[in-house]
């Protein structure tokens, strides 16, 4: 029974450490290549689709909140 436990321990250690090693792999050279590509994109959009989505969401929130302040609440002040 203890031999089985020992094998389980060795297998899980090996699996976990190899997957952990894969996650902690140095991705900086890959990022450096991505962000130094000569595609004319500004740094805030150069990462890809997620950048564009986050940017659009931020600007939408900005416009919505600003119009909410100026249109809705300024009326109350006047």
């Amino acid at each position: 029974m203890f031999r089985h436990l020992r094998t389980l321990q060795q297998v899980s250690r090996r699996t976990l450490s190899s997957s952990a090693r894969a996650q902690l792999e140095n991705k900086v050279p890959h990022k450096q290549k991505l962000f130094q590509e000569d595609n004319g994109m500004p740094v805030h959009l150069k990462g890809g689709t997620t950048d564009a989505l986050l940017y659009r969401a931020t600007m939408a929130l900005t416009v919505f909140a600003l119009q909410s302040l100026l249109v809705t609440h300024i009326r109350e002040f006047s």
Binding site: K27, V43, L61, T62, S68
Partner: protein, 261 residues
């Protein structure tokens, strides 16, 4: 592709200063609307926009420095000046609250009973949790220095461990202080004693949380191989900020907790 003939950083156009400014507008006017019209919506929207701005702006700085190589020695020098000037402005911020404390405590008015602590106030024992908090922050100053040396010597595992320990100590301080706030026999509404105590220690606590967050970002970056033994200014800035937070606490402890009891 055009290459620059200088070592400085001409940044790409960015929307984040605009969104940041609008977030500040929304938070301040939102605060006024909360006070007068009982609605927190605008203030909350402003806070969300602020968080989005901070995340994307600092993400872009990491891209410009670590991935695009724009942080040359002259640029780094400018960043160092910037961080030092910012911390100096924060020193002046705290100086104001210390001025308020000493103004009220050095010449206590008859309304307070002519004494400090004022009549009816039971101050916290400076040799209990506040002393532990002092030890915790001093220890965190040691661990953050250990982390710095580990980074400079290329000791990856030690750097991660010591940086994580620093953050844990910061969180421990915050938890202890939160417990002290809950258990305190006086409140912020208890005259000028309450005001000076909670505003000064409260802003300090906020800075501990900010500093811990900055260090946590550095931990993530260290794990992701962003820092080299020669170039790790983001970490240095976080360490400077952390030492500043520690020094402010030492002044708070000696002035408010110890002398003020």
């Amino acid at each position: 592709m055009a290459h620059q003939a200088h070592a400085y950083h001409m940044v790409d156009p960015s929307p984040w200063p605009l969104t940041g400014a609008i977030a500040a507008l929304l938070m301040t006017s939102g605060l006024a609307i909360w006070f007068h019209f009982h609605s927190t919506t605008l203030m909350t929207l402003g806070l969300i926009l602020l968080l989005l701005t901070m995340y994307q702006w600092w993400r872009d700085i990491i891209r410009e420095g670590t991935f695009q190589g724009h942080h040359t020695p002259p640029v780094q020098k400018g960043l160092r000046y910037g961080m030092i000037l910012f911390i100096t402005s924060e020193v002046f911020f705290f100086l104001g609250f210390f001025w308020a404390f000493y103004h009220s405590s050095l010449a206590p008015t008859p309304e307070l009973g002519g004494c400090w602590p004022p009549t009816g106030i039971t101050p916290l024992d400076p040799f209990e949790v506040p002393l532990l908090n002092t030890a915790v922050l001093l220890a965190s100053g040691v661990t953050v220095t250990w982390a710095h040396h580990s980074i400079m010597e290329g000791e990856r595992k030690q750097a991660i461990q010591s940086l994580a320990l620093t953050i844990l100590l910061g969180l421990y301080f915050t938890a202890l202080q939160a417990m002290e706030y809950y258990e305190a026999p006086f409140t912020i509404a208890d005259g000028v004693y309450g005001s000076t105590f909670f505003v000064a220690t409260g802003f300090h606590g906020l800075h501990v949380i900010i500093g811990s967050t900055f260090l946590a970002v550095c931990l993530l970056r260290q794990i992701q191989y962003h820092f080299t033994s020669e170039h790790h200014f983001g970490f240095e800035a976080a360490a400077w900020y952390w030492h500043f937070v520690d020094v402010v606490w030492l002044f708070l402890y000696v002035s408010i907790y110890w002398w003020g009891s």
